[in-house]
């Protein structure tokens, strides 16, 4: 099964389980979803529940918020995070804010899914990663599933969450293959998870960066360095416990973040590690992030702009000192 199919399966389960659940967004219906996630769902659920929208990001995200207020359980697909800036006011000033501003009256059980990330040569306006921006906003829960099981299970969990959830699906993951265990169900949307044990350094990644971070760990292993890999997966609220526990043991940490370096989520994670485990650190926390440039189109420049297994491994070796 692919990641894409895992998301589709979760949407299907959610819509079967709860008549209030529906999917809405640009081209989710007849087109089958820009990334083919919702292919076939229109036939099963019809156009009311697999609802194509016009190109009106602010309005249909806002309508998702309103529908959630009105008792529905909307899943809104914003085709890509690049376009979500057009709806950011609705997310920040309404979805994330209504509960507090109303003194606890207005619950917004809304799930917003977006494709995110670079790596497909679609250049400066279509390659953004705003993980850190969304993770900055109180009231939101922000998820970045990197595996088939999480793609499926985090969406299911999000559907039972009483507050707005942002789900980032990295474009490079849609075609990835894996097994969905029998009876797979909701997974935790509060905890990070150790994907690989190790003792010399903690590599911290999520979403589209996890696979190459694991690949870097393989490289390091070959060089005799034992790297632990933590998949952050919940970007807000961050699971400090899992991260700190690992770093306390390895005494070294490297964060891999696809965002532009300055002001990325990597900074928050690095700062928290220093706040919680300063005296356990044998070296400053390292970061491998994207170059600070609007993403150029040609492959060689794009790849040079992004964190790669090689650059991750090299940065880890520099920290470990061998």
């Amino acid at each position: 099964m692919t990641y894409r199919e895992a998301v589709r399966e979760a949407i299907r389960k959610a819509l079967r389980a709860d008549p209030r659940a529906f999917l809405m967004g640009e081209d989710v219906g007849r087109y089958g979803g820009c990334y083919a996630v919702s292919q076939g769902l229109l036939d099963e659920f019809g156009p009311e529940r697999i609802r194509d929208t016009p190109l009106s990001e602010a309005a249909f995200v806002g309508a998702g918020i309103g529908a959630a207020l009105g008792g529905m359980r909307p899943i809104v697909e914003v085709m890509t995070v690049n376009f979500s800036l057009l709806a950011l006011d609705q997310v920040v000033n309404n979805a994330a804010t209504l509960l507090h501003m109303s003194g606890g009256q207005c619950h917004v059980p809304l799930v917003i899914r977006m494709a995110t990330g670079a790596g497909r040569q679609v250049a400066a306006q279509h390659s953004h990663n705003f993980d850190g921006w969304y993770a900055h906003v109180p009231g939101l829960t922000v998820l970045a599933p990197a595996t088939i099981e999480d793609a499926h299970g985090m969406l299911l969990a999000a559907m039972h969450h009483p507050d707005p959830v942002i789900l980032f699906e990295h474009v490079l993951l849609y075609a990835s293959e894996g097994q969905l265990p029998d009876g797979a169900d909701a997974v935790s949307i509060t905890s990070a998870v150790v994907r690989r044990g190790g003792s010399d350094i903690t590599l911290i990644a999520w979403g589209g960066m996890l696979a190459r971070t694991l690949a870097a760990a393989d490289q390091l292993q070959a060089a005799g360095i034992s790297a632990e890999v933590v998949d952050v997966r919940v970007l807000r609220p961050l699971d400090d416990e899992t991260i700190t526990t690992s770093v306390r043991r390895t005494h070294r940490a490297l964060i891999v973040d696809e965002e532009w370096r300055s002001g990325s989520l990597s900074a928050e994670i690095a700062t928290r590690i220093a706040e919680h485990a300063f005296y356990d650190l044998d070296a400053p926390v390292g970061r491998v992030c994207s170059a600070e440039v609007p993403m150029p189109y040609p492959r060689h420049l794009e790849q040079a702009a992004l964190p790669q297994a090689d650059t991750i491994a090299a940065a880890a070796r520099a920290i470990v000192g061998r």
Partner: protein, 339 residues
């Protein structure tokens, strides 16, 4: 009957006396409540931004009459009047404006963010145009859940220039959703006159761009507002899709408490004040024999008591404890319910 400028000759006759008195009472409640708010702002009991609705009372009063308790309301930061005539208790509103724990938003929202979900009053939105998509979504929920409710969405003339106006009207019409778009055209967005903000000032022309039926209504005449709203709500409720009503009205006071009002003349303001929705309606009711001095005095007394009671309640209410600062950022687990 006094003549109101720009009012068509066919002003509906005062329908029934009790109804008419209710309309007058509601307008008066807004007026007196807000006059008191202005004082309390000077006294620094109310802080932040305070946007008074004085002059525009006929609009909220007339529209709310047309709604049932199952309908929903979305309003702006100039929404004390809407909340009040929707049935949110004056006490809860005033306490909110004081920032007290007993306020209708638990004191968190203040003047611009009045909420009361029990009365389906969904704010209190202070991003201009930000409420329109919410209204579309509330109506969508009603439709999908098979409820025959209407969502009334209030916004100003200034909001018409925002992209969300365009996107929301199209979406509501495309999907045939039960939204009554209520544009409170008071001719200014802060200091920007309508003609300096809109290439086309006839909003019914704009509505045609979304295949939405629209009418301009004299927003200074509560009977006309009520009649137009009744008809429009009936149409919308029948499932004929959204409608737009443009209420032509005027704000008598400054935009907020910080506004030097450099952008309009005293004469213009006075000419509109001569069309005050309350004094003109009162005169009409007097002429029709529906009220007299004694009735008016009783009304004023009742309204005054409600306002003073609200102020006393707000004054004596407790503040939220600072310990609760970060409450309501996320939902609290329901009692007996594992997270």
């Amino acid at each position: 009957m006094t003549t109101v400028p720009a009012t068509p000759a066919t002003t509906p006759a005062v329908p029934d006396a009790a109804h008419a008195r209710d309309l007058l009472r509601d307008m008066l409640r807004i007026r007196r409540f807000e006059e008191r708010c202005a004082e309390l702002y000077q006294a620094e009991k109310i802080r932040g931004f305070l946007h008074l609705y004085i002059g525009e009372e006929a609009v909220a009063t007339g529209v709310m009459r047309a709604l049932t308790p199952d309908d929903s309301v979305v309003a702006t930061y100039r929404e004390h009047g809407h909340a009040l005539v929707r049935g949110v208790p004056a006490r809860a509103i005033m306490a909110e404006m004081f920032g007290k724990a007993t306020g209708c938003s638990g004191g968190r929202g203040g003047s611009m963010h009045l909420f009361d979900t029990a009365r389906r009053f969904y704010g209190g939105n202070a991003i201009v145009g930000g409420g329109l998509p919410l209204a579309v979504g509330l109506a969508l929920a009603d439709r999908m859940l098979g409820r025959r409710s209407v969502t009334a969405c209030f916004f100003g003339d200034g909001a018409v220039a925002e992209g969300t106006f365009h996107e929301s009207l199209n979406l509501a019409s495309l999907w045939g959703l039960p939204v009554l778009f209520c544009c409170e055209n008071n001719l200014y967005a802060m200091g920007t006159a309508l003609v300096r903000a809109q290439a086309q000032v006839d909003f019914t022309t704009k509505a045609a761009g979304y295949r939405i039926a629209a009418h301009a209504v004299d927003g200074m005449d509560v009977d006309q507002v009520a009649a137009a709203s009744r008809d429009a709500v009936a149409t919308v409720r029948a499932g004929d899709g959204p409608m737009l009503l443009e209420f032509r009205t005027y704000r008598f006071r400054a935009h907020s408490m910080f506004d030097p009002e450099l952008y309009r003349t005293r004469e213009e303001v006075d000419a509109w004040k001569a069309r005050c929705p309350i004094t003109t309606y009162e005169a009409r009711l007097r002429a029709a024999g529906v009220i007299d001095d004694a009735a008016k005095a009783t009304l004023e007394a009742e309204v005054g008591r409600e306002v003073e009671d609200a102020v006393a309640f707000a004054e004596s209410s407790p503040w939220e404890s600072v310990d609760t600062l970060t409450r309501h950022v996320y939902s609290e687990p329901e009692p007996g319910h594992a997270t």
